[in-house]
Structure formats: C-alpha cells, structure tokens
Symmetry: C2
Subunit: 304 residues, 2 copies
C-alpha cells in the first residue's frame, strides 16, 4: 500500500505492528502518554501539523493561524500542550498543530515519530504535515519563499539513509507534487515576495556541510565554495536547509502527505553571512506562514 | 600540530585561516557578533564549556556550578547571554559556560562551531569542553553515569562522516583517555550511583536507529532488537546517545580537549521505554552534573 493513511474511516494507520500492543506508550519527548492524556479528545480533529525549527516561531504561528481561522479570540495565546517536555513545544489552534523540531534531521525525527504516534492513537485522519522553515537560497532574492518539489541529501542523492541495526537503509525522498503545487498556487501577484517551486539541498551541518568557509574549522577555500554553490545552482537547487530529506523520507514511509515551505535569508551565490537586521528577518519569517495559512484555509473551505 | 589549543599565551587557535579576516563575524545562532558584543571582556576567562541537550537543564547546571564555585550568590540565576537567539541558551558562572545543544549531531555542531569561534575571538585559552547528557544504557543499572572512553557511529565505526562539497570525509573519533580517567576518578564510594568508563554508541535517530520497535514506523521485530543490543553489549558499549561521535570528532579537529558524561535512564537490555517518574529522572539528571562539578573544582584548585 503506497500510502497507509488514505482511509479516513479508521484514522491514521502507521506501518508498525507493535503499536497495537502499546497501550501505555510514553511519548517521552512530548511529555505525554496514552494513559496520562485523552489523545482522541485532544487531537482527534487534527488535519494539519506544522513544524519549524524554533519554539518561539512556532508559538507565533499557532497564534497567527488561530486568528486566521477564527478559532482563537483576539490576544488569546494557545497553551503549550507539551509543557511537561524540556525538548519540544506543541500548540493547537482548531485543526492545526504547531510544533518545533529543533535543528537537523535527528532532532526533527524524534518529534515527528512521536507526533505521528500521538495522532495515530488519537484516531486522526487525513492529516497533512508541513515544515515551515528558514533556509539559505541559491540564486533567488533573499526573502523568497521556496516550496520544495524535490529534495536531495548532502551527497546530492534523492535518498535519505536511515541506519537500522547498524546498517544503512536508503529510503526514497518522495515529494508530493500535487501538494507542492497546491501550496505554490496560494501565492498572489500582490505579494511583496516570490514563491518558487524548486529543489532543496538538505545537509547535516550548517558550516562545512553547506560549503561555508566561516565555521570553526575549514579545509576549503573561497573558490571551492563558489564552484560548489554554482554546481548546486546548475542542478536546480533553490535552497539549502537541514531537515527536508529526513522529513520527506519518514512521512512517505509513514504514509502521510507532507510539504516543505521555507523562506530564504540569504543568497549563497553572494554571501554566506545571515543578515543581522532582526526586523527584516522577522518580516521574512512570516512569509511562509502567510502562504501556508492561505493553503490551510483553502483546504478547510474545500471540506478537507 | 595535533592540538592547536596548547599555547595559552595567544589564546585558542582554530584550524580555519579565514577567521583572521572575519572582523564582523555574526554568530547567528547565539544572537551575538564580534561587533555587537565585547567578546574578550565577556568570555576571555572561560576555561570550561558544558553542553547538554535541554535548555532548562543547562540553565539549572549554570546555577548549580555557580553555587559550587561560589561565584553566584544564593538564589542568583545567571542571565541567558544568548537571549537574542531563538535557538540556543548560554549561561556563564565564573570560568564555566553552560549551553544547550538540542538533540542530535547536526544541532550540536551548529552551537559548537559558534562557541568555538566565540572563544577564539575572546582570546580564551586552555578550554575544556564537556557534554553532560542523558542516554540509554546497556547492561548497567538505570541511573548509572557513563564517562565515554570511546565512541562509535551508528554503523559501529570509530569515525564520524562530515559531508563537505557533497563528498563524505571520515574524521576520527578520538577520545582523550586522560581527561576521561580524570573525570571518572571524581566518583566517590559514598555516591548512590556507579560511574563507569565505557564505549558510547552514537546514533542519528532515537527510534529505528537505536533498535526500538516502538517508533511510528518499524521494520524489525523484538528478536532483531534483542540480538542487536546483545551485540552492542558484547562489543563493550555501555550507553547510547545522539551527539558524542560528532562532538569528539569536531573537538579533535578544532584542537580542544573534550569529554562526554551521561546518565542512563534505562537499561536497553530490559526495556525500550523511558521511565515516567519525573522525580527519579530529575535526581538522576543531577548525577553527571555533580561529577563534572567535582572535576571542574579540582581542576581550578590545581591551577588550570
């Protein structure tokens, strides 16, 4: 079965037969469990899970989407439902969850595994996962929003390696083209920013892994950096971040729809330094949130 | 030069010639830069950097070590020096920094690169880095403290792969045996917990990567899990966590001393579920902090 989550009658199914017997499952990194929380009552109606790196940003997104959907009153800040956890935050606004995933694939996988299980236990169905992130850009103006229509790992392969029992397993990085197009189509001509469909380069490091010469250690020179970034450009890469490959791979394996929408903070063909103007970065950070909010409203209006 | 950080006269040197020209370096994930902060005044006296996954835990450690060293008055909570950052926290108590690194090697590398550069710019010298973490154990009672005297990656190799310019580079996981022994020797017979020197298995995933059958997806059975954990046991692995391989590899490359000290929350030979009793976990969490505080006090007394 290509996608295990198509039957809305029985809720989200996951490809792990052990879950049927895990009546007391402790979702340790969310600070809740099947026995401590009434997961169906809390999360049974969830249709969208939005994830991003920073806890503060995802709290702000929960507030924003709550206002957009009219499910939170003015100035009502939703509570952190993972307040027992020291690792992650989790907010809910109507049918939308908003959580942080930290930096990098390993951190993101921890919270993604636990949210998938939480929604499985809750009996949620037809759930779409969207990563709302920040990234570096390649050949696009800073502040552009990239909707990933492909992703490659650090070695430019279309697979993500998961190590199980000490051995590497290559899993495909499958991107839902229909979902990417639907999100992309929510851009408007009056927007003061471009929304671009493109390939995402996913690395396990911010400095050496992204061909920066400004890390604590460096074995490459400026020419190496420039040639590599031009190579990425020539292969259609539009942005660089640190989670998409693992996110697409695990969501596909789990049978849930997912997309990745990131705003670029810099054009790596010009610089490797993130701007210091926090007002500008703050405004740019809202752009993928605005786009995803439009997408969610459209889906809900269409009766998803 | 095996270790670039041996000359206390000139401060911590790093193997990156580009840094000499980076007069405005923006340490983005710490929310500070060479121009916005007087780094020598703030951090020139730092001798120890303690890192751990959780922000709250590392705030508590800063308070604890500040009390132990007598550099903070009673009930004085040190301020978060990275308060402009949405990603990490950073506290200082006398010559000790305490920061969180999130979950997984990629997240840890981001903050480690930036702290290394920060201390290089500050002119700090003879700095020791210590990761104080939580982990799963192999064949040791839960609540034991493991001081790593070796570490292996997910494929049980003594190397950590960094991808640079799209190609994998294998870096050695070198563990400073003298430092590990010194930390281990700070245990006391009256301690209500064991302190054990042992090999650490470092994975990029908490569920599938650590042979758990309880993740959102799973392709292995209980027999596979048990056989693999017995294999780890037979190869001398005492604990499993998600940062040590990259931590040892980058610190070695950068030429700084480092150690990893973690408390086990479970014995994976018996269970894969983290206990839910937060009082017990909280007490256990303090154990590596107590050990590391003794080590730091001893070093400072010896005139490091």
């Amino acid at each position: 079965m290509e996608n295990a989550n198509r039957d809305s009658q029985i809720g989200m199914q996951l490809p792990n037969p052990h879950l049927a017997n895990m009546t007391k499952d402790n979702l340790y990194h969310l600070g809740m469990s099947r026995t401590s929380h009434d997961l169906p009552a809390l999360f049974g109606d969830v249709k969208f899970v939005c994830l991003g790196g920073s806890a503060r940003r995802m709290e702000n997104f929960a507030y924003f989407i709550g206002q957009e959907l009219g499910v939170l009153s003015t100035n009502e800040r939703p509570p952190n439902l993972a307040s027992n956890s020291e690792r992650f935050v989790l907010y809910k606004a109507g049918p939308v969850l908003s959580a942080n995933h930290g930096i990098g694939v390993p951190s993101m996988l921890v919270v993604l595994h636990e949210i998938l299980k939480m929604l499985h236990y809750a009996g949620s169905s037809e759930v779409t996962f969207i990563r709302i992130g920040t990234c570096g850009g390649i050949g696009v103006p800073p502040g552009s929003v990239i909707v990933s229509n492909a992703a490659v790992n650090g070695k430019l392969e279309h697979t993500y390696e998961t190590v199980v029992l000490g051995k590497g397993i290559q899993r495909p990085i499958n991107v839902d083209q229909e979902l990417a197009s639907e999100i992309h189509s929510c851009s408007r001509t009056e927007d003061p920013f471009s929304v671009i469909l493109g390939k995402t380069y996913c690395t396990d490091d911010f400095f050496e892994g992204q061909a920066r010469t400004g890390g604590a250690v460096c074995d490459i020179n400026d020419g190496d950096e420039h040639r590599f970034l031009k190579q990425l450009d020539s292969e259609g890469v539009k942005n660089i971040e640190m989670e998409s490959a693992g996110f697409f791979a695990l969501c596909h394996k789990a049978g849930v729809k997912c997309g990745v929408v990131c705003v670029t903070f810099i054009d790596r063909l010009s610089t490797e330094d993130v701007p210091t103007d926090t007002d500008i970065l703050s405004e740019w950070t809202q752009r993928p949130q605005i786009l995803v909010a439009r997408f969610i409203k459209k889906q809900l209006t269409n009766g998803v």
